[in-house]
């Protein structure tokens, strides 16, 4: 046999040795990638571009706040000079028809009532400054007709929008997350008409309008989905609420109105209805709370639905202290005995006092103290 020969290469075989530059380029690329992956995986969490798992071991860490929670600011303003009243009440006289049945108030009367009520606590110009973006939160939870007492009175909403715009506000937003279908609720309660006539803009709960809100000190909603989209860049917040009987919590008035801004599976909170309502003053510190006592839902609340459930009242209340005005409305509008006052009012006052910082204006349930109420009969 001949000497051992090199194996014969296939004629098509083309030998292309790697040159040095290519080799180093490839090594550099490989180490670069390995280095990047290693950095991302092992660098401490607070270093930039680190992908290290921040969460503690255990199941609880899975319930993390994925979207970064936002916080609301305090929308209250200082009291006007010389005004010590927290609750401004305006009354008017009703006209009656031949059969003795009370007639609806004319729109002008309602407008004057609202004006007068706000004037008693300082006047709208004190609360709204030029260029403010104002958010109005009415109660539009159901698709009831306007005078059935289940939703806010559209005339009052419209008048509030006009007042706020006249006081120099840049933009007025009106928002609510209703229980029933949003478009139907806004339309059938005539509030979308009121918003259009008044010059505001309605915000309906789209799927990307909710974000997690952090409320320090809250018992149930310390971090919860909140209808945040209309609140971006807002300076002042006004709540407008009817006075309603409620089968579970005995009364739904100014404090419960803020329930309409929660998202997610908020119906769970009915298992601790006092706990959730008493969290709202911590969540929302509005500029003004308006209580509409012209169509008072006395029974079958909160949905109402029949005109026989409604008592024709004659007050509109503007309040800086939601607990006191709710307590007043409970006794004087719903005509209930003060011993049966809903527990959430008292619990809210205590909770707020516990979580408040020094110098904060606290809630005070006792509206009988002299000077807290200023009434005007127009």
């Amino acid at each position: 046999m001949a000497k051992k020969e090199k194996p014969v290469q296939h004629p098509d075989y083309v030998k292309t040795p790697m040159d040095r530059r290519q080799f180093f380029a490839r090594i550099a690329a490989a180490s670069g990638i390995a280095g990047a992956v290693g950095y991302a995986g092992w660098a401490p969490e607070n270093w930039p571009l680190s992908l290290k798992d921040k969460r503690e071991p255990g199941m609880r860490s899975l319930i993390s706040q994925k979207p970064k929670p936002i916080q609301l600011k305090d929308y209250r303003v200082e009291r006007a000079q010389g005004i010590i009243a927290d609750i401004g009440i305006a009354r008017a006289d009703r006209k009656y028809d031949e059969g003795g049945k009370p007639l609806e108030f004319e729109p002008e009367v309602l407008q004057n009532l609202l004006h007068a009520a706000v004037d008693q606590v300082g006047g709208i110009k004190h609360f709204i400054k030029k260029g403010d973006i104002v958010l109005i939160k009415p109660n539009v939870a159901f698709d009831r007709s306007p005078n059935l007492g289940a939703t806010s009175n559209p005339t009052i909403v419209e008048q509030m929008i006009r007042m706020v715009l006249d006081a120099g506000a840049q933009e007025v937003r009106v928002a609510d997350n209703p229980i029933e279908a949003p478009h139907d609720c806004f339309r059938k309660s005539k509030i979308d008409q009121a918003i259009a006539n008044g010059g505001g803009r309605a915000y309906l709960p789209d799927s990307n309008s909710f974000q997690v809100l952090h409320t320090p000190g809250a018992q149930l909603i310390e971090n919860w989905y909140f209808f945040h989209r209309p609140f971006t860049n807002v300076d002042k917040v006004i709540g407008i609420s009817p006075v309603k009987d409620h089968n579970l919590c005995h009364a739904s008035m100014g404090m419960k109105n803020w329930y309409g801004l929660l998202g997610g599976t908020r119906n769970q909170f009915h298992q601790d209805i006092n706990g959730i309502i008493s969290d709202f003053p911590l969540m929302m510190k509005p500029t003004l709370t308006i209580l509409d006592g012209t169509n008072i839902l006395m029974e079958n609340g909160p949905t109402g639905g029949d005109p026989s459930n409604v008592r024709k009242g004659n007050v509109v209340i503007a309040s800086l202290d939601v607990a006191a005005s709710d307590s007043w409305a409970f006794e004087n509008c719903l005509e209930r005995r003060p011993e049966t006052q809903p527990d959430y009012l008292r619990i809210a006052v205590e909770k707020y006092a516990k979580a408040a910082k020094p110098g904060d204006r606290l809630l005070d349930l006792d509206w009988k103290k002299p000077g807290r109420i200023k009434e005007l009969h127009i």
Partner: protein, 552 residues
């Protein structure tokens, strides 16, 4: 764009621009836009007075099938005669000038068609399998005559409305939500994305069966890449009906044999596979006019004068044998499906809850064309296309209410307004609530709510909760409570409001089921029994009233 056509003395740029195929394109775009606009407008306060179901009402197959099943013409369905008249004059212009589904097929087929030359020409030749649509038509018409309306499964207009409502609109909305989020993240203040949404101001919608409906349209439209206008040529029952009628059409494609050189270029873009190069098949020709554009000899024209009677095949190409077999299938299908027994009045699914204003179930199945316009219009997303579960194959994709997703809004009657065939007959809010002239009859009841007390928090677990009573919209409420104090296992004395139903007052709106916090299997749920659209599924014989006060 191309090298300028050498136009003879009659031709100018303007004329080229105004030629018939451009006008056809305009017509296609117009009707497709009207269709998409109709779907977009069908939602709560956007609806106002727009005639959003009009394209369905123009559909002659819907008219004929409804006449066969119900023996009368509902509301605007008579407009189908207009299309039939146009077909008798001009042939199957509907398929290529009006039908939005045809436009979609043609568009996708044109966009992704990479065939050239001979391959392209061969793809447009007539195939034997194109007879199948006539078989489908026969089966469906026979079933309709017996009383089970199934045309909605394949009718192109119904299919388009249904697909857009349940699959495409939610997908587009999802994309717009992402765009809106991106704009917010980039600090751009804009509301254009929200204004464009199909369903603004509500949470993202879900529709059961959306996957299959979406798959169906992707498959059928995707088939255009393999066989151009596959659905229109092979499966469309409306096309088949128009094809049967267009054999009598006045105007048709006419080939001048003296000018023709048999180059077959007319097949390059023939939509109907109607063999213009030979004996034109009247039943297949879509009057798309593409062949006229493609003939270099100007041999083709669309006319009623000087017709060459030899160069035409009028009738559909389906043999008598196939017709008989199709008829037989139709005759057998009906009893087999009906005797399946899921839609009788003694064996029906409790989940088959129909929209308010619906007629009795046996009539409903004679009328519903599964267009899903009602599902489109519904503001709370409670209406869903039925799956096999609720009504078997016969009721597939008809509207049912699923109260775990939404509830029936008390004062809303939009579904009854947009229904083109009267499966949901037109009602006013007065009739729905049982007020005004309807006080004697009472409100429309969709079903009755029942409590599963083993899962209810106050009944079974000593935990206070009464959301169901809170949201019940009737006055007085149909959910009342027995209040009692109990001492729970932790020694606390709590007040439990234990709810119970008052079925005389319940209208089956389902908001109690939607709001119940036991989200996996609700402790209060609504079933179809007690509905009062007919008498067969009634639960209570009479409704109780207040006791006679004088006896007290």
């Amino acid at each position: 764009m191309s090298e300028a056509v050498k136009l003879k003395p009659d031709g100018t740029r303007v004329r080229k621009f105004l030629r018939i195929t451009n006008v056809r394109l305009l017509s296609q775009v117009f009707f497709f836009a009207v269709f998409v606009l109709s779907v977009w407008l069908t939602f709560t306060d956007r609806l106002e007075g727009y005639p959003v179901s009009r394209i369905l009402e123009f559909d002659p197959l819907v008219m004929i099938a409804n006449i066969l099943s119900t023996h009368y013409i509902y509301r605007y369905l008579g407009w189908g005669l207009l299309i039939l008249g146009v077909t008798l004059l001009f042939g199957r212009v509907f398929c290529n000038w009006i039908c939005p589904y045809g436009t979609l097929h043609q568009f996708i087929g044109w966009l992704f068609n990479t065939r050239n030359g001979k391959l392209r020409i061969d793809s447009n030749r007539y195939r034997g399998m194109f007879y199948f649509k006539y078989a489908i038509l026969i089966v469906m018409l026979i079933m309709a005559a017996f009383g089970s309306l199934q045309i909605g499964l394949l009718d192109p207009i119904c299919l388009m409305y249904r697909t857009f409502a349940t699959a495409i609109a939610p997908a587009v909305d999802m994309g717009l939500v992402e765009a809106s989020d991106a704009a917010k993240a980039m600090q751009i203040e804009t509301t254009v994305f929200d204004a464009l949404k199909f369903k603004p101001g509500v949470e993202s919608r879900v529709f059961q069966g959306s996957f299959w409906i979406g798959l169906m349209i992707v498959a059928l439209v995707g088939a255009n890449v393999v066989i151009p206008r596959f659905f229109c040529r092979t499966l469309c029952p409306l096309g088949a009906l128009l094809g049967v009628i267009s054999r009598f059409s006045l105007f048709r494609i006419n080939r001048d044999v003296h000018k023709c050189t048999d180059c077959n270029l007319c097949l390059t873009r023939c939509e109907g596979a109607a063999d213009p190069m030979g004996q034109v098949r009247l039943s297949e020709c879509f009057s798309c006019m593409n062949c006229i554009d493609d003939c270099p000899e100007d041999a083709l024209s669309f006319t009623m004068f000087g017709l060459d009677t030899k160069q035409v095949v009028a009738a559909p190409d389906i043999s008598r044998r196939k017709v008989v077999f199709a008829a037989l299938s139709g005759v057998l299908a009906y009893p087999f499906i009906r005797n399946h027994g899921v839609n009788t009045d003694f064996n029906f699914q409790g989940s088959l809850i129909r929209p308010p204003g619906s007629v009795e179930e046996s009539d409903f199945l004679r009328k519903c064309i599964k267009c899903d316009q009602c599902i489109n219009a519904c503001p709370t997303n409670v209406l869903q296309p039925a799956t096999w579960q609720e009504g078997g194959i016969e009721a597939l994709w008809t509207p049912v209410m699923k109260f775990t997703i939404g509830h029936c809004q008390l004062k809303c009657t939009l579904c009854s307004e947009v229904c083109p065939t009267g499966a949901i007959r037109r009602i006013t809010v007065e009739e729905k609530l049982g007020k005004g002239t309807y006080e004697e009859v009472g409100p429309i009841r969709l079903g009755t709510a029942f409590f599963n007390t083993g899962r209810c928090l106050p009944h079974a677990m000593e935990i206070p909760c009464v959301v169901c009573e809170e949201v019940c919209p009737t006055s007085p409420k149909a959910i009342q409570t027995k209040d009692m104090e109990v001492k729970d296992v932790y020694g606390n004395v709590v007040v439990l409001n234990k709810p119970f139903m008052v079925p005389d007052l319940c209208i089956g709106c389902g908001i109690c089921e939607t709001e119940c916090p036991i989200k996996d299997e609700r402790a209060v749920y609504v079933t179809a029994v007690g509905e009062n659209r007919g008498t067969h599924r009634r639960m209570l014989l009479k409704h109780r009233t207040y006791a006679d006060q004088a006896q007290a």
